[in-house]
Amino acid sequence: MEQATNGKMTKLLNKPLRVFTIYALLVLGASIPVYYLILDGVWIHELDKHNRMIKRKIEGKFAEITVNDTLLQQTLHLWNGVGAGTDLQSVSDGILRKDSVYTVTRINHFHAKEREERFRGLSAYFLINGKPYRLTVETNVEETDEAIADIAFVTVIFFVILVLGFILLNKKIATKLWQPFYTTLNQIKGFDLSSQQEITFEKTNIIEFEELNQTLQKLIEKNISSYQEQKEFTENASHELQTPLAIIQSKLDLLLQSEYLTSQESEIIEATHKALARASRINKNLLLLSKIENQQFIDTKTINFSQLINDSLDFLSEHIEWKNITVEQQIEQDVMIEGNKFLLEVMVNNLLLNAIRHNIENGKIKVAFSKSHFVISNTGNSRSLNHNNLFKRFSSTSTETPSSGLGLAIVKQICNRYHWQIQYHFDQSQSLHGFLVNF
């Protein structure tokens, strides 16, 4: 697949990939505190349940046993000194309060590293021997930063998995899902209106692509038919024009026979004759162009191109001599070319005629020819011709040298027909205009 030429351009599929990745990042990022809050809530809830269970156990056991206050005081003192997460004290003010929960962070002396730890606590009040006691139960909870770090770590792993998945899936989708699209694209790229070859698109089961294909198909058919119509129009119009042109010409020829013509009238007739000849020529050339475009002149033969050029030079020799033009020839003998004889003659004659017409007095024409190429160059105007519209119809018509304006368009069309390349080049130092045809 041809890469986009502009550096800023990206493939369609990479666009959503980037957006999806950013979205996934945002969602997963936001999920970290949410996960933490939920996890912490569940933790605390469970620890509270756990602490209450311990409290109920202790309360239950004290209700079953009977112990005197002195022993109780001693045992509690000892137990509380051990610091096993529970602490039972008599309430000094003698008020029996409601149970409450709390969270506290403090140094845990029993941990190897002696660091701050978070604890969830329960303070509960109950009566032992009729006196109120307060029980505090504390259980270690995971610290906030540790919990967040853990969740974040897992989230990042999932994010990476997600992105890798996106890329892989994207590639798969690109090659599989978008395949009909790329097939269509390649088909349109190869479409050439002048070849009149219709495109048949592959059937796809994706609505959008099928619609695209159908729309393109319609568009192409319409294009082809309007191109065809236009070509037929040119051919028909030229045909239709031949008869009125013939009538005008015949009437002028008759008028010329009048015995009473003044010299002024004769000159008018002569001028009209010239203009009419030009109109006929344009018409004939348009007809020729549309015939070439319409793929007529199909019979091809192996033609001795060297001979053809020599004949053409012979035929035009008087016009070459008239302008006192020197012809330099570098013609390889007996080079054979496949083509339609008439078209090849038209091509060579048009190029040679141009070389004569646009030449200067005492100028020069160079004809070089080999198996691979063919060059006709001539001295002339010191300005280069316009490369852009040189081969376009009616682009070169000027008032100085009236012509049909179709000569080069015909040459180009003939070259296109046989897939030859034609180039114009201009040599400033010698004012040499050259036309190169590569076979």
């Binding site: 013939a246 010409q249 004769s266 020529r281 007529q296």
Partner: protein, 225 residues
């Protein structure tokens, strides 16, 4: 001399007839296919001018019919189509010549003259005009029985003038005759003048009367009564 003009465009047919009248040609007309077919089968003509696109049928069919009946009429196809295939097919079916529209009447007259000459078997190969004698087969020109060497183009021009006696021929028509399709691509018609000057010089030097007259501003005329 009888000529049949098969052409559905009345103005063009009229012009042709008008131009040919002075040469003692008798022109008849056929406008439709059936009319043309009826005339060619019923009568004989020295030359038939045949337009291929006729109301009611294809002009080629008339050629086929002529061939089938073994008719000896000369035929010149005058067609707006200028298609190579038509030309080949027409000539193959026995037509003598093919002329694409638009054409100069002088060109048509020269071709009719040539076709009729070829179709006549007695003395047809030699044109005699006073001291001038042209042998069409040998392509030689004699003046007072002495040969005059002409180039191919000069010889062509001479025949063209003989085929258009006493009529003004425009430089344009001569240029087209000499260089075919290229004529109007050439910037001037001076080369026509050069050929004519040479022809004139050769003929007069050999003792020929000056039949070839320049008509100021327009062209040339071969005068001979």
């Amino acid at each position: 001399m009888k000529i049949l003009i098969i052409e559905d465009e009345p103005e063009l047919a009229q012009s042709i007839a008008e131009y040919l009248k002075s040469e003692n040609y008798l022109c008849e007309f056929a406008v439709t296919f059936s009319e043309a077919l009826e005339k060619v089968t019923t009568y004989e003509y020295n030359c038939i001018l045949l337009d291929l696109m006729l109301p009611g049928g294809d002009g080629m069919k008339i050629l086929e019919e002529l061939k089938k009946q073994d008719k000896q009429d000369g035929v010149i196809i005058i067609s707006a189509k200028n298609a190579l295939e038509d030309k080949i097919k027409g000539l193959h079916l026995g037509a003598d010549d093919y002329l694409a529209k638009p054409f100069h009447l002088s060109e048509l007259a020269a071709r009719i003259y040539s076709v009729i000459r070829r179709r006549q078997f007695t003395n047809a190969n030699v044109i005699q005009q006073n001291e001038l004698q042209i042998d069409l087969l040998a392509k030689t020109v004699l003046i007072h029985d002495k040969p005059v060497i002409l180039t191919k183009k000069e010889y062509d021009l001479l025949l063209y003038f003989i085929g258009n006696k006493n009529r003004v021929i425009s430089k344009n028509a001569l240029a087209e005759h000499l260089s075919g399709d290229f004529a109007d691509m050439l910037d001037n018609y001076d080369f026509v003048y050069a050929h004519i000057k040479n022809l004139k010089k050769k003929l007069t030097e050999a003792g020929c009367d000056n039949y070839l007259k320049t008509v100021y501003g327009t062209g040339y005329k071969w005068e001979n009564d």
